[in-house]
């Protein structure tokens, strides 16, 4: 029975093999060409196969050499931060920088359990004002400050 000696390496191996295989699969339509006249597929496909090979080697390493364990994943920080980024992206054009800045700050604050809501709102307000003054008025960046630009 194979024992996973290095969980981190196994994870890395999986990532490599997955990326490599995706590269090969999605590159299959690209013409290969010859070495003298390389088609668009030549370099990427060879590259992808090498990545798969590396994945296999790392996988073998994971089964034979001791390595560190994978630290547990905490869902809250990553989900909240990603949500905050996406929220900003989807809302900025609709409602403007002022609101999205406040919203992002409040949302991001919830990445920790020990949230202090009023603090988050005040921080958001402060940051929004700063951002608007510096970016919209100071640097003339194409960011809508308010809604319905």
């Amino acid at each position: 029975m194979l024992r996973i000696k290095s969980p981190q390496d196994l994870g890395a191996a999986v990532v490599f093999m997955a990326i490599g295989l995706v590269g090969v699969y999605f590159g299959r339509d690209l013409s290969f060409g010859t070495a003298a006249r390389m088609g668009p597929g030549y370099f990427p496909i060879i590259l992808s196969w090498i990545i798969v090979a590396i994945g296999i080697v790392v996988g073998l390493k994971a089964l034979t050499i001791e390595g560190p364990r994978i630290e547990p994943v905490q869902l809250r920080p990553i989900v909240v931060i990603i949500a905050a980024i996406l929220a900003f992206g989807f809302l900025i054009n609709a409602v403007g920088l002022a609101i999205t800045a406040v919203l992002l700050t409040i949302l991001a604050a919830y990445a920790r359990r020990d949230v202090k809501p009023i603090e988050a709102v005040l921080l958001g307000g402060g940051l929004a004002i700063f951002a608007i003054v510096v970016f919209v008025y100071g640097l003339s960046q194409p960011l809508p400050a308010w809604w319905g630009r």
Binding site: I99, V102, I106, P117, I118, V121, G125, S140, P142, W146
Partner: protein
């Protein structure tokens, strides 16, 4: 002792009310007389690229004329299609102006399998800015002094001849040249013209079809020699350069930059934009600036400009087919 969520609701509500109040004051500031808001110049290239500098220059020059904030918005990607689509879909109130090569927008209709919008229907040209040729360059150390010299040598070299291009205009110019002169030279595509300089001067490349900024700069430096330009007529900025047509290779490949707006923009607004750009382009300073970028100032009425635009769409369709350029995407 109030609960946490009540506090949150209260303060959140307060903040939102504050923001809303400020916002409505800002937003209601005028909605009638054009221009009533900030003007955005849309640039299809990334911030800091050569073309971006051009757009920022016009933004600076426009600011005092319109007395409003003029912002440059970069919408790079998909060879300019993202910007074109963005402009086509924006409100036709004249506050979004697309500063880009009209010929490039026209060419993209044929260069891409699925152009984002039907440019002829979705875009209106308000004013033209400049007129730029592409140029045929050779190593200054080479013996070719005229296009005829080059053609003769290339015919001899057959498929051992190699040439550089770095933009669709260059590729098309190359193809036309090869077609008419009956050459079999192999094309090497570069991302930017400067990348090809070393190989042009080391003899690995026989000639190149490049943009005027690069060509003029290198001719001035004594490294390259310009043999001809692609426009039908000689340039005011460089009257000493012969045209390809004069050399026996009939072509009129002129790239022109323009200020464009979405279709549906009211006529008075288009006229106003036209006036602004005419004012800017006619100034001596801008003239010098455009000359430095290798082109001539180019002023046309909105009707004439729109005509040219639609002709360009057809022409470039023919060019792309003739050059056998595979549509992208």
């Amino acid at each position: 002792m109030k609960s946490k969520s009540q506090w949150w609701l209260r303060s959140g509500g307060l903040a939102l009310a504050l923001v809303a109040g400020l916002g409505s004051v800002a937003g209601s500031a005028g909605a009638q007389e054009y221009p009533s808001q900030d003007i955005r110049l849309v640039c299809a290239f990334p911030a800091g690229s050569g073309a971006d500098v051009l757009v920022r220059y016009f933004a600076e020059k426009l600011r005092p004329i319109v007395n409003r904030t003029v912002i440059v918005e970069n919408k790079a990607g998909a060879g300019g299609n993202i910007a074109t689509e963005y402009v086509a879909r924006s409100k036709p109130d004249g506050h979004t102006i697309y500063v880009h090569a009209g010929t490039a927008v026209a060419a993209n209709q044929s260069l891409f399998k699925k152009p984002p919008v039907d440019a002829a229907k979705a875009i209106r040209v308000a004013a033209t800015i400049n007129r730029q040729p592409f140029m045929l360059v050779v190593d200054a150390k080479s013996p070719y002094k005229t296009v005829a010299d080059l053609t003769a040598a290339m015919k001899q070299k057959g498929d051992k001849a190699t040439y550089a291009t770095a933009a669709p205009n260059g590729r098309i110019m190359g193809e036309i040249y090869k077609n008419i002169a009956g050459l079999k030279a192999v094309e090497v595509v570069y991302k930017t013209a400067p990348d090809s300089l070393n190989e042009l001067t080391s003899g690995k490349l026989d000639f190149g079809m490049h943009d005027p900024v690069f060509s003029l700069a290198q001719q001035r430096e004594g490294r390259l020699r310009i043999l001809a330009v692609s426009t039908g007529k000689r340039l005011d900025a460089s009257p000493a350069l012969p045209t390809m047509t004069e050399a026996g290779i009939a072509m009129d490949l002129t790239g022109w930059w323009a200020a464009m707006v979405p279709a549906g923009t009211p006529r008075p607004v288009i006229d106003k934009i036209h006036q602004w750009f005419v004012q800017m382009v006619s100034s001596d300073e801008t003239k010098k600036f455009l000359n430095n970028f290798g082109g001539d100032p180019f002023i046309n009425s909105p009707e004439r400009a729109q005509e040219m635009f639609e002709t360009a769409i057809k022409e470039w369709g023919d060019y792309v087919r003739m050059a056998k350029i595979e549509p992208m995407g």
